[in-house]
Symmetry: C2
């Protein structure tokens, strides 16, 4: 099954205790698609400026990612600058320049219209909804969002949630969106807004899946800790890489069983851990499926009693 993803393709300047990188390739759609490309065909919808050239294009092509939906316009690409000097779990944003992203109007290439899966990365919920409505035939829709949209664009976000099968957000976002400090109660409230399944990402502590196969069924829950990493070089994009591994694995499965969702949680964890090992997308660019499956096995040993 192929996945279409809509989101940001950007440049990031990042500082962490391990060092600094200026204007490296980033953006949620970039991390997501690189990560998911190890499991299935991926097609990207985004907008970039004149600073996005052949070298950046080649990063996607090396992973056979379809970039016909990346629109090139006059101006500069989305730019983010941040650091993790005090806390590796939370970025401190120093600068955000929307640039060409400010006028982004997602256009869906005809060649993308037979995609089975759709991922709405963290962008304006108005755009998320537009893409969702333009692709009514997809079988499974997942999405991400952030505090800014939850707090200041709630009505638009609520419309998006109605059309989502799976929402992937972090702890704090879950508690704010669900209106409870208790994770279970917050998750239940979030799922009442639309998504049948919710993946709550806990950063260095792993992730929790709240899953129900139908709106009325009791459902199931699954928790995984994170990998143990001897060094976290740069956590930028770990959440989007998790989403890519999770959704990419699901797209590769013949049937969406609870067991497939559980394995998807582990593949998401594995991909998030790789993303942290080097700056930007460096590690994802040099990864092999063999390394992924080896780490999947390691995570199994780390979490299973026998």
């Amino acid at each position: 099954m192929s996945i279409t993803v809509v989101g940001s393709v950007a440049y990031d300047s990042i500082e962490t205790p391990a060092g600094r990188r200026d204007r490296c390739l980033g953006g949620a759609a970039t991390y997501f698609s690189l990560s998911a490309s190890f499991f299935t065909d991926v097609r990207v919808i985004a907008v970039v400026g004149e600073d996005f050239g052949r070298r950046q294009e080649a990063v996607f092509q090396a992973r056979n990612i379809d970039t016909r939906g990346i629109e090139h316009t006059a101006g500069k690409s989305f730019f983010w600058e941040g650091s993790y000097l005090e806390n590796l779990n939370e970025a401190k944003t120093h600068n955000t320049e929307l640039n060409v992203f400010a006028a982004f109007e997602p256009k869906i290439p005809d060649a993308y219209r037979d995609s089975d899966f759709l991922f709405l990365a963290n962008i304006d919920p108005v755009l998320q909804r537009r893409v969702r409505e333009a692709m009514p035939d997809v079988k499974l829709v997942a999405g991400d969002t952030m505090n800014y949209w939850i707090n200041d664009h709630r009505p638009a976000l609520l419309e998006v949630l109605k059309g989502l099968d799976i929402l992937l957000i972090n702890d704090t976002e879950t508690r704010i969106l669900g209106g409870s400090t208790n994770l279970v109660q917050a998750a239940r409230a979030v799922m009442a807004l639309g998504p049948r399944s919710l993946v709550v990402k806990h950063g260095e502590y792993g992730a929790t899946l709240f899953y129900s196969s139908t709106p009325k069924s009791k459902g199931t829950e699954f928790r995984t800790p994170a990998m143990l990493l001897e060094e976290v070089v740069d956590p930028t994009g770990a959440g989007d890489s998790f989403a890519g591994g999770f959704f990419g694995y699901l797209a590769s499965q013949p049937e969406l069983t609870p067991a497939a969702y559980r394995s998807a949680m582990h593949y998401g964890t594995v991909m998030g851990s790789f993303a942290c090992e080097r700056f930007g997308t460096e590690r994802l660019q040099q990864l092999t499926r063999k390394e992924i499956d080896k780490r999947f096995q390691l995570l199994h040993e780390l979490t299973h009693i026998d």
Copy 2:
């Protein structure tokens, strides 16, 4: 195998978002021994004042816990007052009265001397060491400590660590004691101080085991998330209840295999979760082994792919 535990038996006044309890039975040795008593024979060494009467004694007796090592002296028992109003993961201490605990000199009843396992709950490392040295024949020694001892009584604590097989502490304590913000590197540094195994408790996010069967072997790691709780009434004693479940289960096993350590991590998680469900020791007092094993099975389902 029987366990001797030395630590505090105390009164706690606790306020949480769920309500308030004044002067309920508490203390690390209390939580630990109630929890461990579901798995093996437990013997307590502690000191209490005149306010500790038959009703409190009965709590231990109901679980067949040997209280001959609880010394009764003139004065009042250790008292702690705290709240969790802003953050259920971290207590805010309002008042601590050492009372009879200030002059605590642990005395080991002869009947305790054939104990196989020893648990040194969080008390002055000078006392931990004294008890350890007075029981040279125990087969396995585990212990707990806290930031205060790590920061201000480090030389005494280092002496204790040399005699420990297993240390159970939380994230922050591990990073401070090990001198690294990276958990893996901090854990390695802590284990170089003595304990062959280290259990790092992550509160609502679970726990990590760093285990090595011999000082020179490569060892193994195991991570478990916490249970999903719909309501956390009072997290007081959750860490000590975890330790009781973990160490109690180990003491009940014919052989200390890596698989036994893994199951022990899950039993610890289960006992910690029960402790949070009501104020003080209320839930542990009314628990059954059947409920424990049922929740152990739930945790298995929550964390295992198949």
